[in-house]
C-alpha cells in the first residue's frame, strides 16, 4: 500500500517535471500492477515470520557499501537542468530539431511527429526499444516457466475453456514431475 502511494506521488512529481510519459508509466505500473502483484505474492506467503537465528552483519555491510558508492556517484553528476550537461549536448539537440536522419538522397529527414518522446523511442532509438520489448518478452516467459506450469495443473478441467495442444496429457506429466521432485527432496 505504501509503495503504491509512493508510486502515485512519484507520478505527480514527474508531471511537475513535464515528463508526462514517464508519469503515465509510473502511475499505471507502479501504483497499479505492482501493488496488485505484491498483494498477490503476500497472499501466497506464510503469515508468520520464521524465527531469526542470529544476527548476521553481512547484509548491512553490503547495503551500506552500495549506498555509499551510489551517493559518491551522484557527486559527479551535473546540476539539475544544466544545459551544458553531456546528456543535453550530445545527440539530444539533433533529436529535438528532428533533422538527424538522412534520406537515401541525402536530404535531412524529419520524422514529423508532435510527441518527441515517441519519435525518439520508436524511431531514433528503435533498436533500444526493440531490446526493451525483448526484455519484457523474456521476463514474461521466465515468470510463466517458473509459475505457469503449476497454475495449469491446479486448474480444474471442466470449468476451463478447452486448450489447444491437449490439456489432458499435460497435467499428469507435471504432476508426476512434481512428485519426483518431492521424492528427491
Amino acid at each position: 500500500m505504501l509503495s503504491g502511494l509512493y508510486s502515485l506521488l512519484s507520478a505527480a512529481i514527474f508531471v511537475i517535471l513535464d515528463a508526462v510519459d514517464v508519469a503515465f508509466t509510473e502511475a499505471a505500473v507502479g501504483a497499479g500492477i505492482t501493488t496488485v502483484l505484491l498483494l498477490g505474492t503476500l497472499a501466497l506467503t506464510d503469515t508468520e515470520e520464521k524465527p531469526r537465528r542470529k544476527f548476521s552483519p553481512w547484509p548491512l555491510v553490503v547495503v551500506l557499501v552500495t549506498g555509499v558508492a551510489l551517493v559518491f556517484g551522484t557527486l559527479d553528476m551535473p546540476g539539475f537542468g544544466d544545459p551544458y550537461a553531456p546528456a543535453n549536448r550530445h545527440v539530444a539537440p539533433e533529436y529535438l530539431a528532428d533533422k538527424v536522419r538522412q534520406n537515401p538522397s541525402g536530404d535531412p529527414l524529419t520524422v514529423g511527429i508532435p510527441n518527441v518522446v515517441t519519435t525518439i523511442l520508436a524511431s531514433y532509438r528503435g533498436y533500444d526499444t526493440l531490446g526493451e520489448v525483448t526484455v519484457i518478452f523474456t521476463a514474461g516467459i521466465g515468470v510463466l516457466l517458473l509459475l505457469g506450469a503449476a497454475a495449469r495443473h491446479e486448474r480444474p478441467a471442466p470449468g476451463a475453456p478447452p486448450q489447444p495442444g491437449g490439456t489432458t496429457a499435460r497435467p499428469g506429466r507435471t504432476e508426476s514431475a512434481d512428485d519426483a521432485n518431492g521424492g528427491a527432496a
Binding site: V20, D21, A23, F24, T25, A28, V29, G32, I33, V36, L37, G40, T41, A43, L44, R101, N103, L109, T110, V111, G112, I113, P114, N115, V117, T118, T119, L121, A122, S123, G126, Y127, T129, L130, V133, T134, I136, F137, A139, G140, I141, V143, L144, L147, G148, A150, A151, R152, E154, R155, G159, A160, P161, Q163, P164, G165
Partner: protein, 141 residues
C-alpha cells in the same frame, strides 16, 4: 465477491472506458503523451480489475491463457517484422522511411505498427504474469 454489488456494478461500468482509454493512448501516442508501454499496461489493468471483481475463472474465459501467451510472442514478432519489412523494401533494419511512398508517412506508419507491437507484448505479459500469480494456490508447510 458475490455480495459486493456496488463494486460489481462500478467495475462493469468502468472496464469499457479503461479499455477505450488504453486504445486511445495506444493510437494517439504520436500526438499526446503515451505509447505502447503505457497502453499495454492500462489494457492489462482492465483485465486485472475484471479478474479481481468477478473471479479468475471468468477472467480466464475472457482472455484465454493460450491466446494471451500467443500475444507475448506476437508483439515482438510485429516489432521485429517491421524492421525486416524495411530491410526487404531496400532500407536498413528498423528504417521506416521506405514503408510508404513518402518518407515521413513511412515513419508515421512504422512508429504506429511498432508501438502496436509493444502494446500487444506488454499487455499480454502483464495479464499472463497476473494469471500466473493469481492461479497459484498457497502451499502450506
Amino acid at each position: 465477491m458475490r455480495h459486493h454489488f456496488v463494486l460489481r456494478v462500478v467495475a462493469k461500468f468502468a472496464i469499457p472506458f479503461i479499455l477505450l482509454y488504453a486504445l486511445y493512448v495506444q493510437f494517439h501516442g504520436d500526438f499526446g503523451p503515451g505509447g505502447g508501454f503505457q497502453a499495454g499496461v492500462i489494457f492489462a489493468s482492465a483485465f486485472i480489475l475484471y479478474s479481481l471483481i468477478f473471479g479468475l475463472e471468468k477472467a480466464r474465459h475472457a482472455a484465454p491463457p493460450g491466446v494471451v501467451r500467443f500475444g507475448i510472442a506476437l508483439g515482438v514478432l510485429i516489432y521485429a517484422g517491421t524492421g525486416v519489412a524495411g530491410m526487404l523494401l531496400g532500407g536498413k533494419f528498423l528504417d521506416y522511411s521506405v514503408l510508404a511512398h513518402d518518407a515521413a508517412h513511412g515513419q508515421h506508419l512504422g512508429i504506429l505498427i511498432v508501438e502496436f507491437g509493444v502494446g500487444v507484448t506488454v499487455a499480454s505479459v502483464m495479464i499472463s504474469v497476473f494469471f500466473a500469480f493469481a492461479g497459484r494456490k498457497r502451499t502450506d508447510g
